[in-house]
């Protein structure tokens, strides 16, 4: 009987708990989840400074957002008459409803930040050169999808914050010459934010965008694996090429265990945040009453700040040019120096350019978030 149960267990895992290097390689190759990793990796890839764990944290957050999102979908009704009411139900009557919503909200904010950090790190280590060009573009797409998911999810609570943030955001899209208004009506399904916009954002947020995101994530991870893991400096042992002459360690348990730990730390942090930091829910969306100022979520406030100066140049041109520039970066900057090292001397100009862009984004975001009061007037004291 015990043997029979054991046979069921073994049929599930095929390989037992790996106790030596050979078994661990076998395990890595035969398991669906584990085969995304190479069976053996360079020990320096395990160091925190090599990755800042940013890619993994992004993935963990994406998974947690999926799980909490599915739970929220049990109670959420994507209709203007009921959407806000369902948020109130989550807040007051659904067991663990507040926790679930808080976790979803803070994970979403964190993901925008962490994905950006991930991109920054890869840029600094020149992780977009050589065979990694296309994967950088995939990364930029993932960054854009993260923002799009945040933006679509922002509307769903149907409170004043959501309604006006999306009204402002969608009107920025309308500043595109010729097709802007058409594009805005395409995403809103109507001339203003209403029933159809809510349904469209819901479908995009819960079905379309996550599906695309995870497809690209699959591609992204596959490419990392095929390109030989993390970028390595040419000065490092092994010189970033091949595995010869260099001591590798098995991914099981060294990498997998660390990944598990990162997952747990992220989960614990998120739980703590969700327990003690409440996600805001303002009054129900009221098209007749605009809050002053009507602000987009913080990660769009840089753009909103720019749009304050010119709807087209600030709201459309600069973001579009930035996105295009980021996507084309691996095809413009093809020098092979400095790969795998942070702040290499050979890339002073590139670093300075990127730092300037980052500083510009940071300053506009901070100004837009903290120093803009009613009627978008400058306030010297953040409220």
């Amino acid at each position: 009987m015990l043997n029979w149960l054991k046979s069921i267990w073994n049929s599930l895992w095929r390989v037992g708990w790996p106790r030596d290097e050979r078994a661990s390689v076998k395990a890595m190759l035969s398991s669906l989840l584990l085969h995304l990793h190479p069976p053996k990796i360079r020990p320096e890839s395990l160091k925190f400074r090599a990755t800042w764990a940013a890619g993994l944290v992004s993935l963990v957050l994406a998974l947690q957002l999926t799980v909490t999102g599915i739970y929220l979908m049990f109670y959420y009704i994507p209709h203007p008459d009921a959407a806000w009411r369902s948020m109130k139900d989550l807040a007051f009557v659904v067991p663990l409803g507040t926790l679930t919503r808080n976790a979803h909200r803070w994970a979403a904010h964190a993901m925008v930040a962490i994905v950006t950090v991930h991109m920054l790190r890869v840029y600094m280590a020149s992780g977009y050169k050589g065979s990694r060009q296309a994967n950088w573009v995939a990364g930029v797409a993932l960054w854009f999808l993260t923002l799009a998911l945040s933006f679509t999810g922002y509307l769903l609570p149907w409170d004043q914050l959501a309604y006006w943030a999306v009204t402002v955001g969608s009107n920025m899209a309308a500043a595109v010459p010729l097709v802007g208004d058409h594009f805005r009506q395409l995403i809103l399904g109507d001339r203003s934010v209403g029933e159809s916009a809510l349904l469209r954002f819901y479908v995009l947020h819960c079905v379309a965008l996550p599906a695309i995101l995870f497809l690209i994530v699959g591609f992204h991870l596959f490419r990392v694996r095929k390109d030989g893991g993390l970028v390595v400096s040419e000065h490092a042992p092994g010189g970033g090429r091949g595995d010869e002459g260099h001591k590798l360690v098995p991914a099981w348990p060294h990498l997998v265990y660390r990944e598990l730990i990162v997952t747990l730390v992220v989960t614990a942090t998120l739980l703590a945040l969700a327990l003690w930091l409440q996600a805001p829910l303002e009054a129900e969306a009221d098209p007749s009453r605009t809050p002053n100022p009507a602000k987009a979520p913080w990660y769009f406030l840089g753009v909103q700040e720019l749009a304050h100066y010119s709807a087209f140049w600030g709201g459309v041109f600069v973001p579009a040019a930035t996105l295009l520039g980021l996507a084309l970066l691996p095809y413009l900057d093809t020098h092979a120096e400095g790969v795998g090292r942070y702040l290499p001397k050979e890339r002073r100009i590139a670093q300075a350019l990127f730092a300037a862009l980052l500083l510009f984004m940071a300053v506009t975001t901070v100004v837009g978030t903290l120093f803009r009061g009613p009627a978008w007037a400058l306030m010297w004291w953040p409220k």
């Binding site: 008459d81 009411r85 807040a91 265990y257 739980l271 805001p280 007749s288």
Partner: protein, 619 residues
């Protein structure tokens, strides 16, 4: 190569932290019941969970019956957050909920969201709405449901009527001249007053009729004419009289006789929108009254009489005054030879949507408990919310506004919200729409301004106690005609009030025909007087005494004069009316017949007796 020990530590601690935090979350949630009861009113989008704590609401029975909780819920009246399941969240405002439980004034305002119209059964709101109309608030603010008033005098040709000194005093402190004035005070500086004066002096009015050189006015005769025409019904004269029109004491110090003379003869050409009826006087009488009214009644008032005209105005100053006239919104109340100006102040159509925390604070930083009291303070001290450095408030101070009145106005305004309620919840408490006949009859009713004093279908003034509704079923046509031409009171102990308008026989016929033709009362049948047998009269006389009629009426020389004299009333009253009133005391509430209810047979007998009374010999 083995994993470092610290990694195991991190693993164990983070796994424990996850399990611990999740367990803590589950523990916090453990007390929550698995099932919550809630009251749903889908039409009002109400989800109320108040009854989780408040078991049975303690409402008076009438309220429970007229506003059953299954149709109204709790929060539409009481406010607060119906979704909430904790005391604090349900009752108080937080970053997640803007509207706490309503204050009493806000609750009254909430009644006013469904109870529309000028006479809702909510005293605070009714009073507020009536004040909004009578104080002329709608002249400057667009307020849904409040008509724009039109009671302020026309200002074109002001220079023909009054003296500059009068205007100066009036604009500084109207109460000094007329304690019952309606014009608010604008806190003007003397330089601004001079500018306004210059502008007003530059606007010509209709030409005045020249004082006739062939006639000379006689003040004494004029005084008698004013009494005979019963001007005191509307005007205060020597401290006594009505308040529909201005105090005639003012006339002497402000008006020039030519203007008075023109007004009396051609009232509606000079003042198309006045409430004053068009008296039909001859030139001599008008001259006499103008002389009388133009006498200097208040020599000690400190205001120079009109005769001291001033030099022509400077155009620059007039231009300044014109600008000021527009800025202050004077044209909202006063015509200037054309239509009224657009309201210049903010529309008040959604004051109830505002949160008192978002409204301006006072300069000392104190905030008000609710929107009604914010409005009340604004009304009483219009400058209370002025910010340093910003433009001062242009809102004038309303005269004679008690704190309770101000709060009532605030309550009525707080009942105005943008989002409409479902039609099934709304109740209109406005009188039915006003319909006046077209053609000659309509022109006569307008000319004599009948509705300034009388009501028809709930519209009109209440100077006269007698509504015209049903008058055609009460009164004989011949009597109406003679009354209109020479009105005499039927209540001996009361002053004559109906003005002697000089209505001609043809005009009186026309108006009487209108009253009889279209102001009938369906409850009153046309009846012929029964043949007055001695038996019937005797029975009627006995019942008359028994029913207590002499307590109010005079008949055959005895009784008191509370009610109309009945001697000779057959000339005045229709048979059917007398019979019906005696069986149906609620027929005419103003008749105050409550408590007198006879059987049809008895009523017929009393009617026969009363209508058979001979007219008393004139003294």
């Amino acid at each position: 190569m083995k994993l470092p020990v610290w990694l195991h530590w991190v693993f164990a601690l983070s796994a424990l932290a996850c399990a611990g935090l999740f367990g803590y979350a589950l523990l916090c949630d453990a007390q929550r019941p698995a099932q919550f009861q809630q009251r749903l009113v889908p039409e009002l989008a109400v989800v109320d969970r108040c009854e989780l704590c408040h078991e049975a609401p303690k409402h008076p029975k009438w309220l429970e019956d007229s506003h059953p909780p299954e149709r109204f819920g709790c929060t539409p009246c009481h406010g607060g957050q119906g979704y909430a399941t904790s005391k604090d969240a349900a009752h108080w405002a937080s970053s997640d909920w803007e509207r706490p439980l309503r204050t009493p004034a806000e609750q009254a305002a909430a009644c006013g969201r469904c109870h529309l119209g000028i006479q809702p059964p909510v005293p605070q709101v009714a009073k507020g709405r009536q004040l909004l109309a009578s104080k002329g608030c709608a002249s400057c603010h667009a307020i849904p449901g409040v008509p724009r008033p039109d009671f302020a005098p026309e200002l074109s040709g002001l220079r023909d009527a009054v003296s500059p000194d009068f205007v100066r005093t009036w604009l500084t402190d109207p109460g000094k001249l007329l304690p019952s004035h309606r014009m608010p005070t604008f806190r003007l500086q003397s330089q601004q007053i001079e500018a306004l004066l210059a502008f007003l002096w530059s606007v010509p009015g209709p030409a005045l009729a020249p004082l006739p050189s062939d006639l000379s006015g006689d003040g004494e005769r004029g005084k008698k004419a004013v009494a005979a025409r019963r001007c005191a019904t509307c005007h205060r004269i020597d401290g006594r009289g009505g308040e529909v029109g201005p105090d005639l004491a003012l006339a002497g110090m402000k008006l020039q006789p030519a203007w008075i003379y023109t007004l009396l003869l051609d009232t509606h050409r000079l003042r198309p929108h006045t409430q004053m009826p068009g008296f039909q006087l001859d030139r001599q009488e008008a001259m006499d009254i103008a002389t009388y009214a133009g006498e200097d009644w208040l020599a000690d008032s400190g205001v120079a009489p009109w005769k001291q005209r001033e030099a022509p105005v400077q155009p620059a100053l007039a231009e300044q005054g014109k600008k000021l006239f527009g800025e202050l919104g004077c044209a909202g109340c006063h015509r200037l030879g054309g239509p009224l100006g657009e309201p210049i102040a903010p529309a008040l159509d959604r004051l109830g949507d505002r949160l008192v925390v978002d409204l301006p604070k006072t300069s000392t930083g104190t905030s008000q408990p609710d929107v009604p009291s914010w409005v009340a303070l604004k009304l009483q001290v219009p400058t209370a919310f002025d910010q340093k450095g910003a433009m001062p408030s242009r809102m004038p101070t309303m005269p004679g506004l008690a704190p309770a009145d101000a709060l009532a106005i605030g309550t009525a305004l707080a009942s105005l919200r943008a989002q409409p309620l479902p039609a099934g919840y709304l109740r209109n408490h406005d009188p039915p729409e006003r319909r006046l006949p077209a053609g000659e009859t309509g022109r006569l009713i307008d000319r004599f301004r009948c509705l300034v004093c009388h009501t028809v279908g709930g519209h009109g003034g209440e100077v006269a106690k007698v509504a015209l509704d049903g008058a055609g079923s009460r009164l004989n046509r011949a009597w109406i005609e003679s009354f209109l031409q020479s009105p005499v009171t039927v209540r001996m102990n009361q002053a004559e009030r109906m003005p002697v308008l000089g209505i001609t026989g043809a005009q009186a016929q026309q108006l009487a025909a209108w009253l009889q033709g279209s102001q009938g009362d369906d409850r009153v049948p046309l009846a012929q007087a029964p043949t007055p047998t001695a038996d019937l009269l005797q029975r009627g006389a006995a019942l008359y005494a028994k029913a207590g009629c002499p307590t109010c009426h005079v008949a055959a020389g005895s009784g008191t004069m509370q009610g109309p004299t009945l001697d000779g009333c057959a000339v005045r009253l229709q048979v059917g009316y007398v019979q019906t009133l005696l069986t149906m005391p609620e027929l005419v509430p103003a008749a105050r017949h409550t408590g007198v209810q006879l059987s049809p047979g008895d009523a017929a007998a009393v009617a026969a007796y009363v209508l058979g009374l001979p007219a008393a010999p004139s003294p």
